[in-house]
């Protein structure tokens, strides 16, 4: 009898491990700021990061502003109230007090974690042509490939480093796209952000490799508030990719990041996300609240910003990567795949704000919901009076698996310019029996068949990802839908 029960518990363990591959937590001592949100905590964070006075003032300004703001509640997925006084706003691995000089100085346990995640830094450094900035809890761990980038004049470092070394750039652009007063979560981030990436590409430079960050929430009760700032100067190009994971925990964790992109004249930024935060267990317990503010500003003429996202994780995903098309002839693009399974919920989409003349935007959104999940596309296309000859094309398709899940489309379309053209299309359907039958006839089992069809459904978006990640994303799409058929 005893043996049997221990066996089942072992089986359960294995099953759990299978379900969320990244669901381990690393045993590393960490330094935390005292629990709760207060002036002291913000001063503590600022102090520990040796920040200049102006940044501390900026943070405090955000903190006071925050007091006046209310948490928004218009979103579709509702969640229990978050106690902001019960969170740790800063958590850093202890061994970090003295910053490592090179990768070899890193805590071996940390390196182990990344290996488990599938991003062995050293190996990647050698084999892949990708520079990685890894953010562990809230602190940026190591940035690879620094020399090669420095040669070109590209700055790619953690934002805390940038504050020390390039304060003029940070001061100029921080908060220029997402102002301090924007909305609750953005303001919260501005007050307490701990780390993140900073990229500056000088004029005329084409970044020779994909820049990449990996985020991971390790400590429990921590919120992750990172801040990313990417500036592409005139005529430059950069492609940036972020990936996210978190360990399995029963409680919900908050992730409220801010990402700001600025593209000057003729510059192009391509920002890709593969988000696989812990989605909670089968019954919807635990998981990450992914409330992220991402916004890009096409400041200069002929600039282009392209967002690509593959959202498979998080208990609740609530984000709208947006483009403000301010420069004439600027282009904004948004490609998204969002997959929700079990009790996951997503309310995601984009905002395209056309301010300049001849601006163009394109939105391709693919939503797939299975299990008991709920998936909403919410988007805004706003064409202002002066945006002559602007174009927008929007397509959102949803795929439903089962009748316990929901798929919703809520586009907001505002057109104030007679010279502009807008088109919006949306469809909702399920995988037809014929399609499944066809695949099965040719020797695929039902799960493989669904995988194949779903990948075909998503292809338009997957194609937009950098090669290495397209393969990973494709696998992720398959994994996320496991067990949702039949």
């Amino acid at each position: 009898m005893k043996i049997e029960s221990s066996q089942t518990s072992r089986e359960k363990e294995i099953e759990n491990l299978k379900k969320y591959k990244y669901g381990f937590s690393t045993d590393i001592e960490s330094t935390k700021a005292p629990k709760g949100l207060s002036e002291e905590v913000i001063k503590f964070i600022s102090n520990i990061k040796k920040e200049p006075q102006w940044l501390l003032d900026w943070r405090l300004k955000a903190y006071y502003r925050l007091k006046a703001l209310k948490e928004p509640n218009w979103q579709k997925p509702k969640y229990p109230k978050i106690d902001y006084q019960d969170l740790y706003y800063y958590s850093a691995p202890k061994s970090f007090k003295e910053k490592p000089k090179s990768l070899d100085d890193l805590d071996p346990k940390l390196l182990e974690t990344y290996k488990k995640l599938g991003i062995p830094l050293q190996e990647q450094k050698r084999l892949n042509n990708i520079a990685v900035d890894a953010v562990f809890d809230s602190v940026s761990v190591a940035t690879t490939f620094k020399d090669k980038l420095t040669e070109k004049g590209i700055i790619f470092c953690s934002i805390s480093e940038a504050v020390q070394k390039h304060p003029e750039l940070v001061k100029k652009y921080l908060g220029s796209v997402i102002p301090l007063t924007d909305h609750f979560f953005a303001t919260l981030n501005s007050a307490v952000f701990t780390d993140g990436s900073f990229v500056y590409v000088p004029p005329g430079v084409r970044c020779p490799m994909e820049l990449s960050t990996y985020f991971r929430i390790n400590a429990s009760d921590t919120g992750q508030f990172e801040r990313t700032l990417i500036i592409a100067d005139k005529g430059s190009y950069v492609s940036y990719l972020e990936g996210c994971t978190a360990p399995m925990r029963d409680e919900n964790q908050l992730h409220a990041a801010n990402v700001e992109l600025v593209a000057l004249d003729d510059a192009e930024i391509k920002y890709s996300t593969v988000q696989n935060w812990y989605p909670g267990d089968k019954d919807g317990k635990g998981g990450i609240y992914n409330f992220v503010t991402k916004r890009g500003l096409c400041k200069g003429k002929n600039s282009k910003i392209s967002w690509t996202q593959v959202e498979t994780g998080s208990a609740i995903t609530w984000k709208y990567p947006s483009c403000i098309l301010k420069g004439d002839n600027s282009i904004g693009e948004f490609y998204s795949i969002a997959i929700t399974n079990n009790h996951q919920k997503a309310d995601t989409g984009t905002k395209m704000i056309h301010l300049g003349k001849n601006t163009k935007s394109k939105i391709i959104s693919k939503g797939i919901s299975a299990g008991f999940s709920d998936m909403t596309y919410r988007g805004l296309v706003d064409i202002s009076k002066k945006a002559n000859n602007s174009r927008n094309y929007t397509q959102c398709d949803s795929l439903l698996m089962g009748n316990k899940c929901g798929a919703h489309t809520i586009p907001y379309i505002k057109n104030k310019n007679s010279d502009s053209n807008l088109a919006h299309e949306a469809t909702t359907s399920k995988i037809s029996e014929e399609q499944l039958h066809y695949c099965q006839q040719r020797g695929l089992n039902s799960e493989e068949a669904v995988g194949l069809i779903v990948n075909g459904f998503c292809k338009e978006v997957l194609q937009q990802l950098p090669m290495e990640f397209a393969v990973e994303a494709q696998k992720l799409v398959g994994i996320s839908l496991e067990g949702s058929v039949g």
């Binding site: 899940c405 919703h408 809520i410 007679s418 469809t427 359907s429």
Partner: protein
């Protein structure tokens, strides 16, 4: 406003025959309205049309007591010519004439019943206002297997003698099994700057058919809100057509519940707006059971500071497999000053459904104008031809040929 509401509320039942029970219920609604106030743009459904601001700006302070004790004369010029019709005429909110001359008297029932409907009080505060102040509420029942021989035209007429800034109207229709009704609402106003709040309720039983045409084409400076609730049972059909162009502000809101299998709902509308007019159509079609169908087509032509809003929602419950839902909105913006806002929304909980929506807006196609001009039309003619072709597309959807040609004539579209 609160003071005014309370004073007018006291006045409103001094001369009336409401029971104490009804007065208490009305009081409840009044308090609810006082608490919530007029809808403003912080509410999702009023995001594009802040009626509280619009009333404040255009009318100022409202008064609510509409004294309808004395009759008014009906100006015969308001009648639609060339149509054999039954009619109900409201003058300044007072029912002056009810005439069903073409119908068999025993096949319909007109009840002056007072049934305040709590079910809809949550939709918005204007329904509460309506409940609190509405004076007469007709319930028209069409008996089993009876089809109206001639259309029923309801004239909503107002003139300068109106006694209140706010008029509340209420009409209930019950279509029993296998009955049918063609209903034309003609909004005709000679009054200025009033707020008219109308609530329609239709119950369509099995196999019954309702065709409702709402026509607002006469220029006037009134602000209007019309809420139409439609409940449909098995095999029933509803067709709603809205011609929206006359009033300074009008919001048509349609809530349609498809409760029975094989029931279907069609909503079609045109906006033809100029001179700072601001019109909105908001629909919410709820597919609540299997094999239901809905289709919506809205087209707008805008010029001269006009603003049109279309918020259309298709809701499919998890029980409503095999739903077919379709929605399309198109707009032509003729100049720089106009604005078209759309929110075509899908909320779907069932997987075996076919739902799609589309929305497009832009300017007149220069190539088409060139084509027509190269064939001898001048610019103005070419433009007019294109616009009427664009709008006729919607009018062609009207299934009753007599009414179709009548509406074409009223709007002045050539074929």
């Amino acid at each position: 406003m609160e003071e005014q509401l309370k004073i007018d509320f006291e006045k409103s039942f001094k001369n009336s025959s409401f029971s104490t029970k009804n007065i208490n219920v009305k009081k409840e609604f009044l308090n609810k309205f006082i608490k919530e106030g007029l809808p403003n743009k912080s509410l999702e459904n009023w995001k594009f049309s802040d009626i509280s601001q619009i009333i404040k700006k255009e009318i100022g302070d409202l008064s609510f007591y509409n004294d309808i004790s004395s009759p008014s004369k009906i100006d015969p010029s308001i009648y639609l010519n060339g149509l054999e019709q039954n009619s109900i005429v409201f003058v300044n909110g007072r029912p002056e004439k009810i005439d069903f001359q073409f119908e068999e008297k025993n096949k319909l029932e007109i009840l002056d019943d007072f049934e305040l409907n709590k079910d809809y009080s949550n939709i918005n505060s204007l329904i509460n206002l309506n409940n609190a102040f509405v004076d007469k509420s007709f319930k028209i029942v069409i008996k089993e297997n009876y089809s109206f021989k001639k259309p029923l035209v309801i004239y909503h007429y107002t003139n300068k003698k109106v006694k209140s800034k706010n008029i509340n109207l209420r009409l209930n229709f019950v279509l029993e099994k296998n009955s049918s009704l063609k209903l034309i609402d003609v909004l005709n106003d000679a009054s200025e700057k009033n707020f008219i709040n109308t609530f329609y309720n239709f119950k369509i039983s099995q196999d019954a058919i309702l065709k409702n045409y709402k026509i607002d084409i006469k220029n006037n400076s009134n602000i209007k809100y019309i809420f139409t609730n439609i409940e449909q049972e098995k095999n029933s059909l509803s067709e709603t057509f809205i011609a929206s162009s006359g009033s300074d502000f009008i919001k048509n809101e349609i809530n349609c519940n498809l409760n029975g299998e094989h029931s279907s709902a069609f909503v079609n509308g045109i906006f033809s707006l100029n001179k700072q007019k601001h019109h909105e159509i908001r629909t919410s079609i709820n597919h609540l059971t299997e094999y239901t169908k809905s289709s919506q087509l809205i087209k707008s032509v805008l010029e001269n500071d006009a603003k049109a809003v279309y918020q259309g929602k298709i809701y499919v419950s998890s029980k409503a497999q095999k739903t077919d839902g379709y929605q399309l909105s198109k707009a032509i913006l003729l100049d720089e000053t106009t604005e078209f806002n759309a929110k075509p929304e899908l909320e779907i909980y069932a997987d075996d459904v076919k739902c799609s929506h589309g929305s497009a807006s832009g300017s007149l196609n220069e190539n088409s104008i060139f084509y027509l001009m190269s064939r001898g039309l001048n610019y103005k003619e070419a433009k007019e031809l294109l616009i009427s072709g664009f709008l006729l597309d919607v009018i062609e959807k009207i299934t009753d040929s007599e009414i179709k040609s009548l509406i074409k004539k009223m709007i002045g579209l050539q074929e």
